[in-house]
Amino acid sequence: MTNELSQRKAYALLALITLFALFLDCFQLASQPVSQDDFYVAVSSINYMESGQLGPTMWNHPGLRNILVYGALRLFGSGVIGVKGVTLVLGLFCTPLMGLVAQRIFKSWRVGLIAALLWACDALVIDFSRQGINDIYLAFFPLAAIYLAYRFRESGRIGWLVGAGLFFGMGLASKWSGLFPLVVTLALLLADLRREPGPGRAARFCQTLVLMLVLPALVYLLTFLPWFSRGYSLAEWPALQRSMYLETSQHVGYHPKFWDDRDNRAYKWFVVPSVFVDPFMNLGGALEPGRSEPDFEKAAIVELGVANPLVWLLVLPAMFLVLRRAARERDEGARYLAGLFFLSYLPLVASPRPIWLNTALSVLPYAIMAVAYLVWTQSQRLRRGRVLLAAYLSLVLLVAAPLYLLAVGKGTGIPVLKEYLAEKYLKQFKGAPNAGSPPTPQAPGTR
């Protein structure tokens, strides 16, 4: 049972899992109603690229999403591919990257394949691979960069390290939390250099620092080009960064929420079942010919990114196992994964502001890799481990099936659930004289 898979077979299985992810990410995507987030992501991209102005939505995050979405809109128009195409592609490519990175960290294709499968069927991953907003970027760009950093370690070819720097830069230009995996990967690469004495070490040390710090910073800076086009000088840029930082560090949401919104603490994610709630109204498909009033029941959509408890609740025990391996065996991969997980996760846990579950996508790749390692190693220790592993994975898929329906907004199509979800999350719209206008916060000093 411990014999390792052949590379060819592993790639074939990874391709199959990726096809499965493609199906889950694309199934009935065009018929999924447009959410306010999707709409404003598209409008914000136009606002940024044509006016250089951040916002109207999520102005406090760097502007790479605006650049990519605008490009997709220009290429494919304002249909579903134009609006969601970028996240769809990045979300999809996370699946093979999970496999490739986990394989390198644990030197096991089986762990890599389990990680890819757990990732592909996770409801939160699917939810955010099918939306225009950029949380999935925080999984893709660091994963791609880590993969390239490993390729550099394997071959020594500088091109891979340049690629890693570029992708880390794109992660930073998506959200600042892209910094955490960069720091850990830099530490890994510098540790490599420490073990390799010899002439030229200073040069390689500088090269690593420049490609992993200066190059990402350059990419980050360049994504502000549209903002500079408004006439701003470099001296004015730090004030913008300060504004963004102040908003991000104290952010409590862009709009008031009308449901119980206390489920926004990162420490709970892997301790109790967690959910990301995204309710919205879309009256576009609800206005039937001859009717002046939209059908509330048809217009109410609730997308729920429910964390699969069979995976998420194993994260902390799995990290314990990874830490134990890191300490006992001084295993480099385990140390690296522990660094990635804890440096990405603990700042979110310590944050005094609300952290919603969508942010977990910046931590989830490392959490799922640890779970894959846990289930694989534990299955090896048991007499009927292979059967138990298959049973566990089947159970995960079984639980993932209803969660998938909730993640793609089909929960409101289930009779009993529909009433419950609409009542719980959208009751402020029900019977409202102007159902098309959500309550707007009165922000002072708007001009």
């Binding site: 102005q53 390689r204 502000f224 576009g284 708007t446 001009r447």
Partner: protein, 259 residues
């Protein structure tokens, strides 16, 4: 891992650092180069290009027509109006693919009035920052509101309060310390409910303010503005001295004065 040659590693370092330095320099040049100025005059020199307009909408159209871009705007009036921009955007809950998208900067131009014109000027890149010269009571009111926001600073020069990263300063005439670059200046007649034109002229001159467009707005329709304020606005115009209409160009002070 195959080791790269030291000389190659150094070359990579130098190349990336050089490209970064060039990018920093290039972005700064690019930003500054996108500012569009007209013929610049100073208040002390009494050669500021000056026009009179009926109200904020005309002021906006005047800036737009002149092609100003990337400028600091000095807004002088009796009040700083506030509104919620999202209320001006169309209802978005009827969307189906393909989405009916819009450019906010263009769309909001249909809603220009005395409340929205500065916001729309900022969206359309006419200005990249606003300095509001308002009565002390108004600075106090805005400061009180600013306490609820995240990015603000109160200094002896006044209040800094950004909105979504857009810089705005609030101060009074006596505390106005000038600007390092020529500004677009809007003076609303309502300001003279609380101030004398001679005082404002003295304050702007003392601050060394330069401008390529001074718009004197009668603020028609604003009920607080009476013939008394209009008369003061005219007195202010006489103090400044009419220097003719503004002519936009790429650099400040490149055009000659039109008498």
């Amino acid at each position: 891992m195959r080791e790269s040659r030291p000389s190659r590693a150094w070359s990579v370092c130098i190349l990336v650092v050089l490209v970064t330095a060039l990018a920093l320099f290039g972005l700064d040049r690019f930003g500054r180069g996108n500012r569009v100025f007209g013929r610049v005059g100073s208040f002390t020199g009494r050669d500021v290009p000056l026009s009179e307009v009926e109200g904020p909408k005309d002021a906006y159209l005047s800036w737009r027509q002149a092609g100003y871009r990337g400028r600091t705007l000095v807004f002088i009036s009796d009040r700083w109006e506030t509104f919620v921009p999202s209320e001006l955007l169309p209802a978005d809950l009827f969307q189906v693919y393909p989405l009916q998208l819009y450019k906010p900067a263009q769309l909001l131009e249909e809603n220009i009035d005395g409340v929205t014109f500065l916001y729309i000027a900022s969206l359309n890149s006419i200005c990249r920052g606003i300095v509001a010269l308002v009565p002390q009571s108004e600075v106090d009111r805005v400061t009180e509101q600013a306490l609820k926001s995240k990015d603000y600073r109160v200094t002896e020069r006044g209040l800094y309060l950004s909105r979504e990263g857009f810089p705005r300063w609030f101060t009074t005439g006596p505390r106005f310390a000038g600007l390092p670059e020529p500004a677009l200046v809007y003076v609303g007649a309502s300001y003279f409910r609380f101030a004398e034109p001679e005082d404002l002229y003295r304050q702007l001159s003392a601050a060394g303010l330069k401008s390529d467009s001074l718009l004197l707005s009668r603020e028609a329709g604003k009920k607080e503005v009476t013939s008394r304020e209009i008369a003061k606005l005219k007195r202010f115009a006489e103090l400044v001295g009419a220097a003719g209409p503004a002519t936009p160009g790429r650099e400040p002070g490149t055009a000659v004065r039109h008498d």
